[in-house]
């Protein structure tokens, strides 16, 4: 007997929409739980005061600053390096064995678990180069970790820029570099920005690689060579060592809200950039 195709169609449509709702539902539940458990301990004073007694009391000001610095530094290092690599791979070299080896390397780098980055960062930056547990060692490690994301998204974005824009730029007497900087990169900007935002998300949420390289000092980092703690690490330690679940959830709330804010901001700027140009 043949099942009515219209019935199948209906069923498929139901199933697919349920799958989509399920995904969004999980996100909503997570945010909801964190919100309910964290809101009572979370406020402006929580964000602006120093922790006391290992974080059992007080706020998370140093962790917020530590997170900000770590993310800002690693983005600062990784963005030019990543975009540069992407430009080289797409504009300045032909597809060859060499480029496929580079690409393979980038892909492999993306697949390495973060704890391995942490271990490498510890051995190389912290010990070998003598940086100690520091913001700088953490930022370098994080740079290597987010580099593949930036390279790959930038590469895709640059590849998506129509070839004829490059040709017309050349026909107006522009050099390759002028074409790259003035035509290709502005057109690829939304895609590149997406990669940077994804990387920020990854850096903000990372714990393993950070503990090994930046340490977990609760003091406010005041120089690049200071150890420090990110919000994610703070949350991990509070929860793992049973110091304070309330404070842990409050930290998680700040973390989740800031990631949400970054995403919304990125979405907003991207819309603005794209609607201006296309």
């Amino acid at each position: 007997m043949r099942i009515n195709p219209r019935l199948i169609d209906k069923l498929v449509s139901r199933t697919l929409s349920m799958q989509a709702y399920f995904t969004v539902g999980i996100l909503v539940i997570i945010v909801f739980i964190i919100f309910v458990k964290g809101i009572s301990n979370c406020g402006l004073s929580f964000m602006l005061t120093y922790p006391e007694d290992m974080g059992r009391h007080g706020g998370i000001f140093p962790a917020i600053i530590g997170t900000l610095f770590l993310v800002a530094l690693s983005i600062l290092f990784a963005t030019p390096l990543g975009i540069g690599t992407a430009i080289y791979l797409t504009e300045y070299t032909k597809e060859s064995r060499f480029t496929s080896i580079i690409r393979f390397g980038v892909e492999s780098l993306a697949g390495i678990p973060s704890i391995i980055y942490g271990l490498f960062g510890f051995i190389f930056f912290v010990i070998k180069l003598g940086m100690g547990w520091s913001l700088l060692a953490g930022a370098f490690t994080m740079t290597i970790m987010i580099l593949p994301t930036i390279i790959r998204t930038s590469e895709e974005a640059i590849k998506a820029v129509p070839k004829n824009l490059r040709i017309v730029s050349h026909s107006l007497g522009a050099t390759k570099w002028e074409t790259t900087v003035k035509v290709v990169l502005p057109s690829a900007a939304p895609g590149i920005l997406t990669g940077i935002m994804l990387s920020i998300g990854r850096a903000v949420g990372e714990t393993a690689a950070v503990i090994f390289t930046m340490g977990s000092s609760l003091r406010l980092p005041t120089s690049l060579m200071d150890s420090g703690r990110t919000m994610a690490v703070h949350f991990y330690i509070l929860a793992r060592e049973g110091i304070s679940m309330e404070k842990a959830y409050a930290t998680a709330l700040v973390l989740v809200v800031s990631i949400l804010a970054i995403n919304i901001l990125a979405y907003y700027t991207m819309n603005k950039v794209t609607s201006k140009y296309s």
Partner: protein, 250 residues
């Protein structure tokens, strides 16, 4: 009277790998006139056009022999940036940058380092010369991608005029446009002829007949016949030209 050639080729041969794309082409584009290249698809007319601003350089595996002269100077002796500034090109599909109208027009000026104080005057002059000034003077900061196809093509012409070329290459500039827009672009070409030397590649024989002063007919990489447009279209000396313009093949 001797007409002088703004662009000239002698025994020009071009190979794409093993494919012989242009065969011993002797061709001339007269100054302040419109020269048209016609012929069936794949005959080499666009390839010939692209020799003059060295756009074929962007393709791998292209080999050129013979000579090309721009204003009687061998093309190899001219700096490529200078060459492309002097010889503007309009493409088949309108291809404004995905920027504002203003930024499209300023692109060439910025690339060639023209002082900022001259920008406004140049933008106005170039928009006027393609008859877009009245339409776009208040919309210069909107995206060029929202314009109609015809306006986009006009903008692209204005964009190349900003860098003050002497010669304009048009590679089937109307093939993406409707018939009315096509006629208007043709009027523009005749207008531009006063100040510029124009070479146009076209599929549209009527277009060649309407706008050009001289016409070359190409077939399979050979320039079969070249002469006054009126002669080519009324009394061609080669059978193959006759066959093409009367529609026996194409």
């Amino acid at each position: 009277m001797m007409l002088d050639c703004a662009l000239k080729t002698e025994k020009l041969n071009l190979y794409y790998g093993a494919f012989h794309g242009l065969k011993d082409v002797d061709f001339c584009v007269y100054r302040n006139a419109i020269t048209a290249l016609i012929g069936p698809s794949g005959c080499g007319k666009s390839t010939l056009l692209r020799c003059f601003n060295r756009m074929n350089d962007l393709i791998d595996d292209v080999k050129v022999t013979g000579s090309i002269f721009v204003n009687d100077r061998p093309i190899d002796s001219i700096d490529i940036i200078e060459l492309r500034k002097n010889i503007g090109m309009v493409f088949q599909r309108p291809n404004p940058f995905p920027f504002s109208v203003q930024d499209n027009l300023l692109y060439g000026l910025r690339v060639h380092g023209i002082p900022k104080r001259q920008h406004a005057e140049i933008v106005e002059r170039c928009l006027k010369s393609v008859d877009l000034w009245d339409d776009l003077k208040d919309k210069r900061h909107t995206s060029a991608m929202n314009l109609s196809e015809e306006m986009k093509q006009r903008l692209c012409i204005a964009r190349l005029l900003t860098v003050e070329p002497q010669i304009i290459l048009l590679d089937e500039p109307c093939s993406a446009l409707d018939p009315i827009a096509t006629l208007r672009i043709e009027e523009l070409m005749i207008e531009l002829k006063k100040d510029y030397t124009i070479l146009i590649v076209t599929h549209n024989m009527q277009q060649a007949a309407r706008v050009s002063d001289h016409t070359g007919f190409m077939l399979l990489g050979d320039l079969i016949e070249f002469g006054d447009t009126s002669k080519i279209f009324t009394a061609p000396s080669d059978n193959r030209t006759d066959g093409y313009i009367t529609g026996r093949f194409g």
